[in-house]
Assembly symmetry: C2
Homo-oligomer: 452 residues x 2
């Protein structure tokens, strides 16, 4: 018989991995709560009509589609089948698909429940998503997203708050980070001014290399991307922008003065920076003009978080978007949101060994099992100990001591209590600290005190 396996790109999570993941999710949840965000959940399956066309042509291909139950071919003609136009046939035999992200289901949720929702709606959502991507190191076909969004409010205070939330989360994790910020309106302004609107993504990618390759090479690459000499010249002050955030803001005001959108972007940025200064962050907050993520989607502020002590891609990102729900017939709903990358945060915490001991806590106390008579004495003791909240086990079988001790070892149980005939006669147990090897004869009350 073949050893069973799971689909490629999916994972089992062991007890230790679950404890670590729960620590991550719980920390994020606590911080969201602290800022008044409320959790929702949506079904794993959405109608394909909700999902299709929202992620581009490539995205449609990456949707996991669910075969209709029963006679899925009824209503499909022989001709249609024999045509073997599989993308089209797929939509004929599948009505549902697995969610691809949390954003589209959230937009669908907002429209569907618009009359029950209390706007501005601050929601967070931590659920798995599925993508039929080619699996590779660090990329999975099932993975969790941890999204927080406010919809129904244009106020930039929401951006301020989301920066504080990111800061607080990574502060709690003990991960040193830089929060990078940009504004899509500034990028639009730059494109307007140099007259190269459609090349703005190329431009940001090239500018991003300045530190590595130097100004001459940057300009050369811009030329190779088809930028005119005039555009490149006009771009020089932007490329060479340096200094503190306020210095950059001041320069940008000059550079972008001829672009209404650009000026608006600088003002937004300035508002956010000023408000953030009222309560200093743990993280560094950097205005980074090369930040351009998801250009077609975002319309205002853009965020990205980089870990300072580990080489890894961005561990959180987000931004402001207009018209989240327009595609579902509810126009004019603006929002801003962030998404924590749970898998990468997991890797960073592992590499830096930042998990607090308490988060990985498993059973705290194991009672050795000597047989039925001892069991009966132990049962009320177990109850007493558990009532104080101590995670306690009695080894279920009276097997050799060695086996019971190695169970405790493997589960990293810090205390083992031994209550054989002699101990029971004294109404005591022998408590062994598995870390130090120390052993002491104690009453139940004392045992509870020692462990707490």
């Amino acid at each position: 018989m073949q050893k069973p396996s799971i689909p490629k790109g999916t994972r089992d999570f062991s007890p230790v991995e679950m404890a670590k993941r729960n620590y991550i999710f719980n920390t994020i949840k606590e911080v969201y709560h602290l800022y008044g965000y409320q959790q929702i959940e949506t079904p794993a399956m959405e109608n394909l009509s909700t999902l299709m066309g929202k992620y581009g042509e490539e995205g449609d291909k990456l949707l996991f589609k669910i075969l209709n139950s029963g006679d899925f071919l009824s209503g499909v003609s022989d001709e249609e089948v024999l045509e073997r136009n599989t993308p089209r046939l797929a939509t004929r035999i599948c009505e549902k698909g697995l969610r691809y992200d949390l954003t589209v289901p959230f937009a669908r949720y907002v429209v569907q429940h618009r009359n029950e929702i209390n706007f501005p709606f601050k929601r967070y959502q931590i659920q798995p998503v599925w993508r039929a991507d080619r699996p590779q190191k660090g990329r999975y076909r099932e993975f969790y997203q941890c999204d927080g969004d406010v919809v129904g409010s244009d106020s930039l205070l929401n951006e301020v708050e989301l920066i504080q939330i990111m800061d607080e989360v990574f502060h709690r994790f003990g991960i040193r980070v830089a929060i990078k910020m940009n504004n899509r309106k500034i990028l639009t302004g730059i494109a307007e001014i140099i007259g190269e609107a459609e090349k703005i993504v190329d431009i940001t990618v090239v500018i991003d290399k300045l530190d590595k390759i130097g100004l001459d090479k940057v300009n050369e690459e811009l030329r190779s991307k088809g930028l005119s000499e005039k555009a490149i010249e006009q771009l020089q002050p932007t490329i060479l922008l340096t200094g503190t955030n306020s210095e950059k803001v001041a320069s940008l005001k000059n550079i972008l003065s001829a672009s209404e959108t650009g000026v608006k972007g600088v003002e937004e940025l300035q508002f956010i920076l000023e408000k953030i200064e009222k309560t200093p962050l743990d993280a560094t907050l950097e205005l980074d003009l090369t930040l351009a993520r998801g250009l077609n989607y975002y319309t205002g502020a853009i965020f990205e978080v980089k870990a300072l002590d580990v080489q890894i891609g961005s561990i959180t990102g987000g931004g402001r978007y207009d018209n989240l729900t327009g595609v579902f017939g509810m126009p004019g709903v603006s929002g801003v949101g962030i998404s924590f990358g749970a898998d990468r945060i997991f890797d960073v915490l592992n590499q830096l060994e930042l998990y607090p001991e308490n988060a990985l806590k498993t059973t705290q106390l194991l009672f050795v099992n000597f047989g039925e008579k001892e069991q009966e004495w132990l049962l009320p003791v177990l109850k007493q100990v558990r009532m104080t909240g101590i995670r306690t086990e009695l080894y279920p079988e009276a097997v050799k001591m060695k086996k019971q001790m190695s169970y405790a070892d493997a589960k990293q149980i810090p205390f083992v209590a031994i209550a054989g005939e002699d101990e029971i006669a004294e109404n005591k147990v022998n408590l062994k600290n598995m870390l130090t090897g120390e052993q002491s004869l104690v009453g139940v009350e004392e045992l509870i005190q020692s462990i707490r």
Copy 2:
């Protein structure tokens, strides 16, 4: 444009529903932890080869199958397609399916990770499962299961512990319950003794009606099921079994003395009852011979929990099974487990209004927004308040007071703080208790004290 919707039999969970569900899951998790159970998670998608044939022919039909990515018809001949044998065709174009329960994935997990697992393995798992059932009231196509199992131990102490776990969970919920217990070996024994092994399910169903229809009608129904007069006569002492659990055990010992399996079943039951008596339960524990759930699956103890104050089916169930993993090539692994019915528990808690206030806690304090100047004063205050753990919001826009107050109302925020020009001049805020309507001018420290 059509209003978007979700697939039938699936649900969105609103913030309030999520808070309630989290309370349920967290309570169950805490109790599992207290007994040394550890959480695992498995992927939503399993290979169809793992799932098929495990739930009977009907179950295979109820599996949600996931269409292969890309050219799913490659390798499928025209003839095969035109045959329109859809169940067979489904397995040709789908390799994966959504998990149908948590038991088969757990069995697969145990076999796949046998070398990493520390046996006896006490695991719990709280995840959604999917079934292509016809949706109806209270039956969903996506729903959560909350399973706890111990595998790799035959000890009846595991059964004792699971009873304690069920008792503790419902004690914490404040739901009064009866835990019903039976033993599959006793049912086998009864069937052996009356010589009607294959009719045992029918028999338990009929006996279950005794209270409602009386002895004569019960015997009549047994006759109509094809039981011989002799068998019915031999069944009388079992049907009429009454009294305390110990009295029932004593009678059963007599009745079943000729069946080795039956005697074994009674001994198991007796062991469990004796051990449970060492630490009294909150719940009543009843030996119920009519309890027969999942006969083909269970081999020892069987459990079911009934709520006493709400008319609803069983809200938890479980039992011992042999050979969980045999189907995946790893024989001899016995286990025992329970599964909490989250949806029914949700309904019971709703009906009895048993949710603790703290579980439904949302934002505790809303600051009214009067404009940019006031915001700047408030930002450090917000930080100070949040640092004490109080869930706090600043309304993101300086809109009319009425709108901000109705936001607080709708979100059931208990305190609203008003800090306009006058209050700020005094370095104070006006704190309004939304329940009592009381208002008082307080400093930040005092505000924090009032809310905590």
